[in-house]
């Protein structure tokens, strides 16, 4: 064994006080294990929530937003845009609201040639009342091209009964959210009555039920064909109110949405804007993870600092004689800092192991079954980057905690000790 003498001394002393070394190491180990566990779990939760939300919202949603500026309707009609006059209109009453998109065929054709866009699903949407016997429920009816909609939301996987294509084979078919179907107490094959805001009443046959795993959707949403909604509202075949878009690259949503909004002159929202709670939730969970992890590692660092300080106080004589015999302050610093680092590196290695074991254990714990049926186990993400980060943090902490006592040891004045 050919070890530099500093490391020989360091190692022998470390082994001579196994108990203290192990306790200091356990501190680092638990700190890093908890960091790994928490970040893997929190990232798992983030990913799960993001996936779930994204499964229910399109990457980009283009629609005709209700404008709150009605002044032009007054000025145009009465004043013929005379620029020499200043017109002030107080509290105008809305008139002539158009919810649909003008010339949707052109927009859809253009979208289909846009390279970022993967799927385009145009639809005509309206609020309706669902009636079945005495039960009367408010909800949303989307008239869609069911194949396009299936590609946007992967409806086939979300069907509880029936298939998306059943909408086309059933006369005036309708797909109901599972929550809505349960409240109405209807099953596949039943006839229900829908009433439009304008008062038109039509009967539809339930062709299937679906579940997004979110009650906000499952309790109010229903699908039918575009023609079904256009007929219910008494509109022509060009009546399209919304366009839902899936992109090839999710991260392009924000930029693309702005671009499309400017191009077509309609409201164009990306998924982040529609659901700011996803980002906020992610940020809060990330912050929490970092705060707790750093606290744990700091506590472990103080543990090392404490133990090394105690060791050095009890080793004053040894430090003095080593210095007398020709060990420089730098040698002494090396001896004690290397002890801290050995504790830190061992703690990091075992901590990563324990962290992985805890994360793996968590990923095998069954998730309580309830509203969210898609989740079988607690969500955990396994990512090598977090393990590298954990190891780096642990070793950095022990280094910082070890440097201060080691410097103190390096500065010991041997004369003061040896003379007494």
């Amino acid at each position: 064994m050919k070890l530099p003498v500093n490391f020989m001394i360091s190692g022998t002393e470390l082994l001579a006080r196994k108990k203290q070394s192990v306790i200091a190491m356990l501190g680092v180990m638990f700190g890093i294990a908890m960091f790994i566990f928490m970040i893997s779990f929190m990232k798992g939760v983030n990913k799960f929530i993001e996936d779930m939300m994204l499964a229910a919202i399109p990457d980009i949603h283009i629609y005709n937003d209700i404008r709150t500026d009605y002044t032009h309707s007054v000025t145009e009609a009465w004043l013929h845009q005379d620029s020499s006059k200043i017109v002030v209109v107080h509290h105008p009453r809305p008139s002539k609201i158009r919810l649909n998109l003008k010339d949707p065929g052109r927009i859809i054709a253009d979208l289909k040639t846009t390279p970022e866009v993967a799927v385009v699903s145009p639809l005509s949407s309206t609020q309706v009342f669902f009636n079945y016997g005495p039960v009367q429920l408010n909800g949303m009816l989307d008239g869609v091209d069911i194949y396009a909609e299936d590609r946007v939301f992967n409806l086939t996987e979300k069907m509880v009964s029936g298939h998306p294509e059943d909408l086309l084979t059933t006369d005036k078919g309708i797909l109901l959210g599972q929550g809505l179907a349960d409240k109405l107490n209807v099953v596949k094959g039943d006839l229900i009555t829908l009433a439009s805001p304008t008062g038109t009443v039509m009967r539809f046959r339930v062709a299937g039920t679906f579940s997004f795993g979110m009650s906000a959707i499952d309790n109010i949403k229903a699908y039918t064909t575009q023609a079904g909604v256009q007929q219910l509202l008494g509109k022509d075949r060009d009546y399209i109110t919304d366009i839902r878009i899936r992109l090839h690259d999710l991260s392009q949503a924000k930029a693309t949405a702005i671009l499309l909004g400017r191009k077509y002159g309609y409201k164009s929202e990306d998924w982040e804007t529609t659901n700011p709670s996803i980002k906020t939730g992610n940020m809060i969970r990330d912050t929490l993870t970092w705060v707790v992890s750093i606290t744990l590692l700091t506590v472990a660092g103080f543990g090392i600092y404490n133990i090394m300080n105690m060791v050095i106080t009890s080793k004053m004589k040894d430090i003095a004689i080593l210095k007398a015999q020709g060990f420089s302050g730098r040698d002494i610093l090396t001896i004690f800092l290397s002890q801290s680092l050995v504790i830190g590196i061992l703690g990091a290695v075992f901590g990563l192991g324990l962290g992985y074991a805890l994360s793996y254990g968590m990923s095998r714990v069954p998730f309580p079954q309830g509203e969210i049926t898609s989740l079988k186990y607690f969500p955990v993400v396994f990512d090598t980057r977090y393990y590298l980060l954990g190891a780096a943090f642990g070793i950095l902490t022990t280094f910082v905690a070890g440097v201060m006592p080691a410097r103190k040891a390096g500065r010991v004045d041997p004369v003061a000790i040896l003379r007494s």
Partner: protein, 223 residues
């Protein structure tokens, strides 16, 4: 006069405080190669202070000091460490062995630090010294499990490992009973006879009487 191994000129040392106290006053001193010198004096006369200053452990003084032809005054802390490692062997009143290590390891550590010989050669040399001091049977024992006399003999062996130019001892028998005191005395005389340079602080006049030269100190001056 033999070639000087240590030369000190006009050394002054003050202990700081509200009223600085001058513990060493204008000490000029020369030690020849192979000399066995003892420093005696009442407690508080500055004899230990002088030893620590001459041994380069204490650098807070005025004047100049040369050992083995090297001017050590003003050298950096790490340069002084290297210098002590190579040229000076220490024996203190207390043995200061490292308790976690065996006797053999304790003796080998300064030589390993010097790094001039291979580990095997160092071990061989350490064993030779132990044999010479008649304690080779305890080589493998942990240093904490020895009697006081044995510990002091191990400390002397450790001081010899790098074949230093000068051995400095501060009350080397101060903690020992009369039998062990005699053994340590005999070792020092034997080392001196073999040509080692020894500088020892003692309050034992019998010990001093058998040295080549006695330096008696009083109130920070050589008498």
């Amino acid at each position: 006069m033999k070639t000087p191994i240590l030369e000190a000129q006009h050394l002054d040392k003050f202990f700081p405080g509200p009223e600085p106290f001058q513990v060493l006053k204008d000490i000029t001193l020369s030690i020849g190669k192979g000399e066995f010198i003892t420093i005696i004096g009442k407690s508080g006369c500055g004899k230990s202070s002088l030893l620590y200053l001459l041994s380069t452990l204490d650098t807070n003084y005025k004047g100049s000091l040369s050992i083995n032809g090297t001017r050590v005054t003003g050298l950096s802390e790490s340069a002084l460490s290297r210098f002590r490692n190579e040229h000076i062997g220490f024996v203190f009143q207390f043995h200061y062995l490292l308790p976690e290590f065996t006797v053999l390891q304790n003796i080998m550590i300064p030589a390993l630090r010097l790094g001039r010989l291979s580990r095997e050669a160092i071990e061989q040399r350490a064993m030779d010294i132990l044999k010479q001091l008649d304690i080779d049977d305890i080589a493998a024992k942990p240093s904490g499990k020895l009697s006081g006399g044995q510990q002091q003999r191990v400390a002397i062996a450790r001081a010899l490992i790098n074949n230093p130019g000068i051995i400095m001892a501060d009350e080397p028998t101060g903690n020992l009973d009369s039998i062990n005191t005699k053994i340590v005395f005999d070792i020092f005389h034997e080392l001196s006879r073999q040509g080692n340079t020894i500088l020892a602080v003692t309050h034992d006049r019998d010990f001093a009487a058998r040295s080549d030269r006695i330096i008696e100190m009083m109130d920070g001056r050589i008498k």
